[in-house]
Amino acid sequence: MRVITLDGLTKRYGAYTAVDDVSFTVEPGNVTGYLGPNGAGKSTSMRMIVGLTPPTAGHATVLGRPYKEIPNPGLHVGVLLDASAQHNGRTGREVLALSAMLMGLPTKRVDAMLEMVGLNAAESKRRVGNYSLGMRQRLGIAHALLGDPEVLILDEPANGLDPAGIHWMRGLLRDFANRGGTVLLSSHLLHEIEVIADELVVIGRGKIVAQGSKESLLESSGMFVRALDDEQLAGALSNAGIEFTRVAKGGFNTHAGAEDVGRAAAGAGVVLLELRTADGAGLEDMFLTLTADDAREAVTT
C-alpha cells in the first residue's frame, strides 16, 4: 500500500521552476528521507502534498486521497512544516491546546505530548517567542504527533536540535515506523538523514536525481580500502588493473569487489588495515556529486 504518492508534481513561479515533475511513493513501515540542498524544492513539494501550495501540474495523495479530502486530517497525518510558524505570543502549551481542541482531543493528550518531547511544565508555560529553535522543534514534533496520526510529514525536523535531541528524534521516528507508521522527512544534511532513513529521495534544483533504499544507494559507492602503506597499495591495485579514487583522509574508494582488492593486496604483500563497504562518506560523495551541478555554491570534493 502506498501511503504518500507524488505524481508529476510541478510548481512554477513565472519562469522559475521550483519543483519539476517530481514523482515518488512512500510506503508504510518506512522512514523516507527527502534529501537536497537548500532551495532544491523540498519544502515546496511538502506544501503541495498538504495542499498549502497549489501545484502547477501533477497531483499528490495521502492515504489514497488528496490531503484536502481527509476529514479532520490532524488525526491521520502529523505535519511539521516550519517550527517557527507559531504565534510568538502564545505559550507552548496553548499552541497544543488549541489544536487539540480543534481535533476534538482531551486535554490530557496535550500533557502526554509535552512530556514525550521533554518540555517541562515551566517551559510549556513560556511564550513561544522565548523558545530556542530546538524547543520550537520539540514543540513542533509534539504538535505533529498530537492527533496520534499514522503518517508524519516533517520538514527539516532536526534543525536546531542538539546531538542528544537528534538521537532522541531518531529513536522516536524509528519506533513510529516499526509500529507500521509512515514517515517522510526532509533534510539538507546527509549525516542527519542517513542514520534515520530507510529510503532516500535525493532532489536537486527541483528534479529528483536519485532514489532508492539507503543500502542500494550506499552500495553504488563501492568499497573502501586502506593499507599500512597506501602508496604500495596504489601500485598493487594499478598492477591488478583495478580503478580507484584516492580518499583525502587516507585509503581509496573502488568499485571492484572485496575479493579482487584482497587478492591484489595479498599478491603484492601489502598489509591491509581496512577493507569494507564505503560508509557515509561514500554516500556523501554521491550526494555532493549528484547535487553539485544544482547546488547554490560550487562544491569541491
Partner: protein, 269 residues
Amino acid sequence: MSDNVTGGAVASPMRKLSVAETQVVPLVRLTRVELRKLVDTRAGRWLLIAIGVITAAVVVIFLFAAPAEELTYAQFLNATIIPQAVLLPILGILTVTSEWGQRTGLVTFTLEPHRGRIVMAKLLAVLVMGIAVVCVAFVLAAVGNALGAALQDGNGSWEFGVSGVIDTFAFQLISVVQGLALGMLIMNTAGAIVTYFAIPFAWGFLTATVSWFATIGAWVDLNTTTIPLSTHEMTGESWAKLGVSVFIWVLVPLVLGWMRLLRRELKSA
C-alpha cells in the same frame, strides 16, 4: 531530556483510524477555537481589555461631565458607541492577519484544509465577540445611569427602544466585519488598520475638494450613512443608504478578501 522512546524496539502496532469514517471538524468547534485565539495572545487580550477599560472610562467621564438632564440610559450608551467602534474592527483585522504575520496559517490550514470553513469560523467568532463587547456597553451604561440618578441627581430615564438596540448592534457589527474583510483583503495588520482609518479621511478630503463626491457620499460614505444609526434616527431611506454603503465597503471587500484567502499560497520559512 528523557530518551523515553527506544530505537529499534518493536512496540505495539499502530492504531489506524479509518479515513472514510472520520467526521469533519464541526463548524461550532472551529468557531470556539477562533474565539479562543482572539483572547489567548497578548495583542488580542490587551485589545479586549482596552475596549472594556475605555468603555468604562467613557461612562465615568460622561457621569461627571454631562449636564444632569442628559444623564439618561440612551445618552450613556451613545457615549460608548464611538470608542468601541474605533477598536472593534482591529479585532476583526487581527484574527486574519496574525495567520500570515505570525504564519500560524501553516498550522490552521493544515488542520482544516477547507479554508472557507476557517473564514466562516472567524466571521462567527468576531460576531460573537462583537455582540459580547456591545453587551458590556449595555451593562456599563446601565451602571452609569443608576449612578447618575443617585450621585448627580441625573435625569435617570431608562427609555430605550428596540430600535436603539438594533441600531447599536448593527453599528458595531458592521465595523467588526469590515475589519475582518480588510484584514483578508490586505493581509497585513498595519496596512489593514491604516486603510480602515484612512478611508473616512480620504472621503472627507474628496468631499471637500470635489462637489460630486459630496452628492454621492450620502449613499456611499459609510461614515455618513451610519450617523443615523448612532443617533437612532433610522428611516427607510437611511436604511437603504446604509445598505448601499455597506455593500461597497463591507460586502465587496469581504468577498474579494475571501477569494484572496482561498487562493493565497502559504509559505514556510
